[in-house]
């Protein structure tokens, strides 16, 4: 046995690598920590200089995020004492709650539009990718290039025509309109990614299923799809991240009905002074779904990234 190994790192190497990773994580996670911490600060702590690392946590920001308040005199508050814990928090700033904010519905819009367009992109993308991968299609290469070419400019470059088209078609400020738009933008990505994954699945599996008595669609559904799960999961994450974070089109095309969270969160600043904790609380909650979705699928995601490179 030799103490030197090519594949196994030495303790020093491990230590150096560990330190570098920890340092990188610290830098990369700093903004995240900042946002999450600010969400639990009081407004004065949030703008304190130098920044407070230790502070008394409060959910004031979250209460402000979910409610609409108005100023109340101490006399009015005394006459009408706050009953619930969140009313008491607001009362300390001489405010009273007049109703819920619109954050909940904006968040729900984001969920509907983000997950809706992700589902559609992956669903249509899988079929298209399968067809491109397996069938003889006239002008296949040109079609694939054409699909990819929609990605060669920033989507916002076509903002004006889309704005006008949407207004004419009655799609402005509708959930269907936003789902359609994000699906259109994501579809090229999903077709190309998924085609790569399906190309990697040997065609013999389907041929075996065809001979075993299954139809082409059954072979696709029962044999190809389970093996493409990895690719579908990673594609879904990429599509969701785009649709979830999209800001420019959301600002341009939505206002009342179908507004998503990204254009809504900054508007919180304007409500009753610069309420940074409420903004930070909104941003924190906004991060959660993508984070949970990614963590749920992370095993697939990691396998998806190395797919093809090490497949036996």
């Amino acid at each position: 046995m030799s103490s030197f190994s090519v594949t196994e790192p030495s303790p020093t190497q491990k230590w150096v690598a560990g330190t570098l990773v920890a340092l990188y994580a610290l830098v990369a996670l700093m903004p995240l920590v900042w946002i999450i911490a600010t969400g639990f600060k009081s407004p004065s702590d949030a703008i304190a200089y130098p920044p407070k690392l230790l502070f008394e946590p409060t959910v004031e920001g979250y209460v402000n995020l979910f409610t609409t308040q108005t100023r109340a005199t101490p006399e009015a508050l005394a006459a009408n004492p706050p009953e619930t814990w969140y009313e008491r928090i607001v009362a300390e700033n001489n405010q009273t709650i007049v109703g819920p904010s619109r954050f909940g519905e904006r968040f729900l819009n984001s969920v509907i539009i983000g997950f809706g367009s992700t589902f559609l992109s992956v669903f249509l993308g899988t079929f298209a990718a399968y067809a491109f991968s397996r069938f003889k299609i006239p002008l296949k290469d040109d079609l694939l290039f054409f699909i990819l070419s929609t990605r060669m400019m920033p989507p916002i470059a076509v903002a004006i025509p889309i704005f006008l088209m949407y207004r004419a078609a009655g799609l402005s400020d509708t959930h269907a309109g936003m789902i359609l738009l994000y699906t259109a933008v994501n579809l090229s990505l999903s077709v190309w990614l998924l085609k790569g994954f399906i190309d990697e699945i040997p065609v013999e599996y389907e041929e075996a299923a065809l001979i075993d008595g299954y139809t082409r669609f059954q072979a696709f559904w029962k044999v190809v799809l389970p093996q493409a799960a990895t690719g579908i999961a990673s594609t879904a994450i990429f599509c969701l991240i785009f649709a979830w974070n999209e800001y420019a089109f959301a600002v341009l095309l939505t206002s009342g009905q179908a507004q998503t969270a990204p254009p809504f969160i900054p508007t919180i600043i304007g409500i009753g002074g610069q309420d940074w904790p409420a903004v930070a609380a909104g941003a924190t909650l906004f991060l959660l779904p993508v984070m949970v979705f990614t963590i749920l699928l992370r095993k697939h995601l990691l396998r998806g990234i190395t797919f093809g490179a090490v497949r036996k």
């Binding site: 013999e204 001979i211 075993d212 008595g213």
Partner: protein, 365 residues
């Protein structure tokens, strides 16, 4: 169980013709080998028989029924792929039972049939395992299990032993042949390995460049090759081919090999110009009295026999001799050929001339 008849089968991929008008018949219960070098069209032929490729022209009859344009699932055949193609997301049992589930068989019946097949193959203890961790031999058995569980009319196998180690291949070949003998099902087997074909097959089709070169039982193909290609492809070392200019007429029983008369089986057709004499290494003997001379350049010891390479006026000739015959490189000796075993080929198209000896094999056409 079925007879399979292939008639004028042809397949073109764009400008490339993979199979040109193949015709042969596979009898019920036969272990039939499609043999040829890679790219010769043997796999394409098999895939057309299975319904994985549509022929450009021609007919395929399975059990008397014309199926050339039918779906694979309607042909009631089983296919064993070279890379096994086991469904990776299923267990061993799931893989074997999968063809039955497509027929709507109940879970309980499927389970019973899967168990029965697993016992035949000796894999009944691994039914619950995922296929991922199996050795290649066990994967091969699972692939066979998936094929036999349906009791199909015929088995089609595309180089099923190609992915196995040489050592294990031998063992699997025997197992496969034993399985076939027990089940008696028509089996069509594609291989590029002539030894495998000779060892396992009841009948062999030799293909090259999309053309059927010869069709028959292994012994006939070995003894009486119909073309120079077959002479070269079959046998290890292959048949010696001695090119010479000359003329033979129908009824001759002697050729003139560079001034030396050589006895051959009585010819049934004539040819002139570029001719080729074909002789198997085991039919060459060293005979000091013989007129045809060669110089020993190498000897390769193989246990009971040795392969001796000689330089002759018509190129190198290999002779398979008993090991106890002492030969020294550099010595010049006479070469005798066993007259009853010789074949004369036309050099232009490589076809064997019909003679009294091979006309039974080559037919009268």
């Amino acid at each position: 169980m079925a007879q399979i008849r292939i008639n004028n089968l042809r397949k073109e991929f764009g400008a490339f013709t993979a199979v040109r008008s193949s015709t042969f018949t596979i009898e019920d219960g036969e272990f039939f080998m499609l043999l040829g070098p890679s790219g010769c069209g043997k796999t394409t032929t098999l895939r057309m028989m299975a319904g994985l490729e549509l022929p450009t022209a021609g007919e395929i009859y399975i059990d008397g029924e014309e199926v050339a344009q039918k779906r694979a699932s309607q042909r009631d055949i089983a296919f064993v792929f070279q890379m096994f193609a086991l469904y990776p997301h299923m267990t061993v049992g799931g893989n074997i039972g999968y063809p039955l589930r497509s027929q709507g068989m109940s879970r309980a019946d499927t389970k019973a049939r899967v168990m029965e097949v697993a016992k035949i193959l000796g894999i009944e203890t691994m039914l619950a395992k995922p296929v991922g961790g199996l050795s290649s031999g066990d994967r091969q058995r699972v692939a066979l299990g998936r094929a036999i569980v349906r009791r199909p009319k015929a088995f089609f196998m595309d180089e099923p032993l190609g992915a196995l180690d040489a050592e294990f291949r031998e063992h699997m070949a025997e197992e496969l042949r034993a399985l076939h003998d027990r089940m008696g099902a028509t089996t069509v087997y594609v291989t590029h390995d002539q030894l495998e074909a000779m060892q396992m097959g009841d009948k062999i089709v030799v293909m090259n460049h999309g053309v059927v070169e010869q069709f028959g039982v292994p012994q006939d193909i070995y003894d009486w090759p119909a073309t120079l290609f077959v002479a070269n492809f079959i046998g290890s070392p292959p048949m010696n081919v001695l090119r010479f200019p000359g003329t033979v007429a129908a009824g001759d029983s002697r050729i003139d090999l560079g001034g030396v008369p050589v006895d051959v089986p009585v010819t049934r057709e004539g040819a002139s110009g570029d001719l080729v004499l074909g002789v198997r290494p085991e039919h060459v003997r060293l005979d000091d009295g013989a007129q045809y001379r060669g110089e020993v350049i190498a000897a390769e010891y193989l246990g009971t026999t040795q392969i001796v390479t000689l330089r002759t006026p018509h190129g190198e000739v290999k002779a398979r001799l008993a090991s106890d015959r002492v030969v020294r490189p550099g010595e010049t000796t006479g070469l005798g050929f066993d007259a009853r075993t010789l074949t004369v080929f036309r050099g232009t198209d490589g076809a064997a001339l019909r003679s009294a000896a091979n006309e039974r094999v080559l037919g009268h056409g």
